[in-house]
Symmetry: D2
Subunit: 418 residues, 4 copies
């Protein structure tokens, strides 16, 4: 006695790896498959189609297989509506909740496919605009909407999608046409590519994003300032190539400390050899900004007269400073509550069309967690492990570069700003 179900795969399912993944999932998780239909696109712009029956010994084996196939982009051949279950309490998901990928996703409600808004991985999907009639979910008169919610956004009674039925995931496919500046963004870590030519391509991608009216978000760690990349990043903010900054308390303090205390070379050199000494300037900087009432006030008072934070204030660029347990101070602008900070980061991430992650594992992971797989991402770090970890999130158009931010940012700015 076996159980089975039928799934369909559609699109460029061979070169996107979906077919391979589907076969592998079934075999890894102990199932069998029976290909009921298979059309292969005979030319590169034709799509392929596969209908596959998945067979397993019992439901316990079958279920995880179907779940994984779903997550990978397969859909149930005979689609039914998604199952909606009310959340039993605030911050609590119903058992069997559907946990999202970061790929575009639809849920089927009352026979219609509804796109899930604000797609982000590892979230629940909450549906609004439906009611429960005789045990069946039906659309209300108004619009039915579905959106992702993180665990701490769930409220008691929220209708949460459970199970895998009625869900459609669309992992990104290989673009048929790989020309254009974004063509390069498919290569994973490019350790062996000439650094200058890769930076040129990244510059082109940023320029094109801006030309199309897109937004560039830069996630930056304190190493950008230490390595000497501060003035070049400030220039990118001023010239409008970077629309928003996502960073931590330390980044902002180091940046402003340089404006306040880093003017003489002698002092700079001294600081480098006597880090504890420099720390006093760190605390002074925080102290002065606290007294002014915040970064904007400090700029207005003329305390801070250059640097990344200065350009953000003067040019009205959005910035989010998220707190951490390592922070000194912190600055009044720093969001010390982790949940609030995540929410602020989430908003930045959703608005971004290209994200530049510079030497900041913690903040880059936090931003990356909120990004759909369709957002272009560039990760730059001198540590290959950091770059690998950041790229390893299934982004469709992500490129990693193992290089020195202290030479990267100036060369990038040079390319972008004539």
């Amino acid at each position: 006695m076996t159980v089975s179900d039928v799934v369909e795969l559609e699109g460029h399912i061979i070169d996107s790896g979906l077919m391979e993944r589907a076969f592998t999932v079934v075999m890894d998780l102990g199932g069998e498959f029976d290909i009921e239909e298979f059309h292969v696109g005979t030319r590169k712009d034709e799509e392929s189609y596969c209908r596959m029956r998945v067979i397993a010994d019992d439901e316990e084996t079958l279920h995880p297989i179907l779940h994984e196939l779903h997550q990978s982009g397969a859909t149930l051949a005979a689609p039914t509506d998604a199952t909606l279950t009310p959340a039993p309490a605030d911050n609590v998901v119903p058992h069997g909740f559907y946990s999202t990928t970061n790929h575009p996703t639809d849920v089927r409600i009352d026979g219609e496919w509804v796109g899930v808004e604000n797609i982000e991985m590892d979230c629940a999907v909450v549906v609004e605009g439906v009611e429960n009639e005789d045990g069946n979910v039906v659309a209300e008169d108004g619009e039915v909407t579905a959106e992702t919610k993180v665990l701490n956004g769930i409220e008691a009674g929220d209708l949460v999608v459970t199970g895998d039925a009625g869900i459609r995931v669309k992992p990104p496919e290989r673009p048929r046409d790989s020309s254009g500046p974004f063509g390069f963004m498919q290569g994973g870590v490019s350790a062996e590519r000439p650094s200058e030519s890769l930076i040129r391509d990244i510059a082109e991608a940023i320029a094109e994003t801006k030309a199309q009216g897109g937004r560039v978000l830069c996630v930056a760690g304190p190493a950008v300032i230490h390595a000497g990349g501060g003035p070049a990043l400030a220039r990118l903010v001023r010239e409008g190539y970077v629309d928003a900054i996502s960073a931590g308390n330390g980044f902002a303090v180091h940046d402003m400390e340089r404006s306040r205390y880093g003017t003489s070379l002698g002092m700079d050199v001294e600081t480098m050899e006597h880090p504890r000494k420099g720390h006093k300037h760190h605390i002074y900087t925080i102290s002065e900004v606290v007294r002014a009432g915040g970064i904007e006030a400090a700029v207005e008072e003329g305390l801070i007269t250059e640097g990344v934070m200065y350009e953000c204030v003067v040019n009205d660029r959005d910035f989010v400073l998220a707190g951490s347990i390592r922070d000194d101070g912190p600055l009044p602008d720093t969001i010390t509550d982790a949940v609030e900070a995540q929410n602020a980061i989430r908003e930045q991430a959703r608005d971004a069309d290209l994200v530049l992650m510079l030497s900041s594992l913690l903040h880059s992971v936090a931003v990356g967690n909120c990004l759909p797989s369709t957002t272009r991402t560039v990760c730059v770090d001198i540590n290959p492990a950091t770059v690998t970890q950041l790229l390893d999130r299934g982004s469709a158009q992500a490129v990693g570069m193992v290089t020195d931010v202290g030479t990267f940012v100036p060369i990038l700015a040079e390319e972008l700003v004539e």
Copy 2:
């Protein structure tokens, strides 16, 4: 026309490196020295003494030299009282505030040396029990106390030590007798030492700390659980070799997830090959603990039946879970506010006699920032850069080991628990 001041160095000033450092500081920062008196201890248990006049062209040059000499352990030959300046506002230090090292420190108030409590680096020193008479600080009738305060603990009007006068720092000296289990803790990163013999020494140090009634704090990252060190760490908590845990939300969730969902090997293996799958268990675990009301309640309800957190609850061991912007959930027990979390960590750190830092850079840095240089510290990570960074804080008895926590913790537990 030059300016000068006289400093004294006392103790085992040669083999502690203090003499070398003093000479180097003076020369690096552009000063001259004139050795007015020098006695060298002729045998290893005799102390040495040096009185040195430091000469510079102007006050601007002299001041940083004296500051650095202070920080290194020199004292002004003719000690005066410390200068106290009221903090101008909450969270704001007066200009010229004295920024602490992590070494034992005294301040001179009204002619008496007062020990600074809760020593921690990069803090201000606030003095209580004094009053201002005719511009002079005099002790009140009660006790005069001095303690460190971080920036966000400063209140308007707090009397903060400014300048370097009236301050005495005592950097740790090389113990004259290096036998005993702590003898090994002077070696920095021990990459080339046989791993098993080094683990044996660490076990001995823990056993001795416990035998002397000391407390062992373990800072642990999620990698401890991933690498399979969870059961062994739980055993150390149960048997009383670890008194407290300092970790993040992720560590606790992974640990409890293993208790809830990690019982069958098949599941385990599956999880490893399908990390996104495992994530659902992650969210379930949080969800269930949220519903129970917290970790303690979840243990009492029988939801969580083994693991590190379980042993903490059952054996009444203290734990602090500090939030970060990477967290899922978080758990109700996780302190999401960074400043509150730092305060909780600070308390743990002050109580600890030996700190074991296992694969957690973020939390280890946070804990390390609060430790006086006299607390024994063991840092274990597979990444040499992490170990180096953690050791690089001037701790007197710190040892680093570049190894795999997944084999380290079980071998350590084996050594300690027969």
Copy 3:
């Protein structure tokens, strides 16, 4: 006007990734494809078949596409004989020579498919037993053979395969049945798997290899000795779990130095703290072995009485010590010429059924270069970059483990030797 050719793909071409790779190659290199026939195996033990016409604008575009498809496992639909071109001089390949992969490969000579012996990547294929009649290669009466030759093995006149015609490559496919001890060897770097359970699996794989009469080759770096893994490795050699050692001069000297000078713990500890001191023992060890006439003689004289090299001599295990420009000495046994050393390594590699690479990038790369993709390989290093680099050679059954050899080897020996 376009040019085209037809290739066939056969086997488990979907889950092996061959179909995906074929589509990708054609598109990446600027071609088009037309699928002329496609059968998909409907169940997991049925093979699939695809006949694909590859179309390009000109021969310059088509040729690299066909070459890549070949390398990946596709074959020309209408197979012709391989083209053979005489090598123009010693150590010189004819232009257009076929450069091997590390997968099993056949060449078609006079209508027959001949297996290429001693498969190894980046070699030329030299055919013997043929003659040139009227411009056609025909088999002589005797046997036709084909084997790989590295560049410095090529002799003037050798008949070298050129072009891609008449060549069949068989990349490894995913085993249909993944049970058994080797099932685990498909996972790449297993950083997140519990260390002890992974070591257990590796032990099982070694035991099974030995049970089947296979040979285990261990490539070992000096870090094995420094980290304290020497005695455990010596035990594995003695007990027959390791049949051969491939290492450098440094490994052997450190191992024998430990036998000669490392007996007292006091000395050991001293050595660790005074590395320059230890170096003298290093030179003494070499000096004494030189005087004895070599390692075997030194063992026979009773100079060396324990350790890995001792066990190799006493139990008649094969060892190769390859020289490098970092070496002291070197020992009389060390092969200082790089080409001779490569040849010796090549022989070891060809004989091995399972290769254990322990903390030695240089020697592991040298051995790995000579291995066919079918040899099981285990790479252990504390540096993730080393493990990734070693695994990145397309081996079918390779597993990497980021851990400490100082704890790995003892736990492994414990598992294998009761």
Copy 4:
């Protein structure tokens, strides 16, 4: 009953760390000290002096203490002549041979201090121009000379210095005047210094070395070519800022392959995505250079028309290519024998006044092993562990930079060549 001996320390013994080291050595190795005399230089240009009696329980304890003190720069108070012992056989040192540091060293022969030539660490010292009269070594009429010999240079009968008597080591002292371009070269790894300003300082150091008629040796790994630094390094060779290249077979092949096959960008990009494809060009390049007869001939034939090797040939710069077991080919110019290669590297190292080590651990270690501690060294690598390992050799003027050679070399060339 104890034994003792008297040593003297002279010079800037406090800020050079010598005093600290001396105290530490005595205590670590179980001795006692009695300071018989101590003068401290009262100003920074006055030297200090210390006479210390070292006491131990027995000769076995005393001897290693005296040895370590020697190696650190202490001298026996009552100097005697060095003991000379004939080498018992080729490649065999007499027991108790003196193993050199990399610091300037004198040996006392017949009452006179003789400087040891070609100082290099871990060597024996062989004295010539002496004869053995009645058991006493006396100088012959001609000149007495002493020089270092590596183990494989020792010939039977060579008079080798044994024991520690009659030897004087002069570790480098902190320069009293740290201005000038080399002032920066005391900082170890400069991870936190602005990259561009550090590159500027390195450029200045190179320019000054050349202005003084010095020689610059560049040790380069293949990553220089991969990362795109080839053209800039070629420029430095052409313009005379680099006088000699020390590299491996792989570096030279990659460099020439770029000249032969890397001219079109399309090809380049293709190569990066299909590394196995590129490998064919690698073998072709070797093959063609073999056929030409070597690199010089290939340049003369017009096969190689640009790049680092081309500029070496055309501008008559010295290059050494040392073989390794990883090599393809190798090129006819590559020295495959490790001992011969070491000898060639040793000559290059001895001639160099400044050594630039770029992304090549193996070759940098080999070169570094031959350098006296007085040669200025710059180590550049993206891996901090490599930089740390290279700096960890007690060089007096060494600086490390963790950065990307692909951006480092172009910026350096830009600074040097207007």
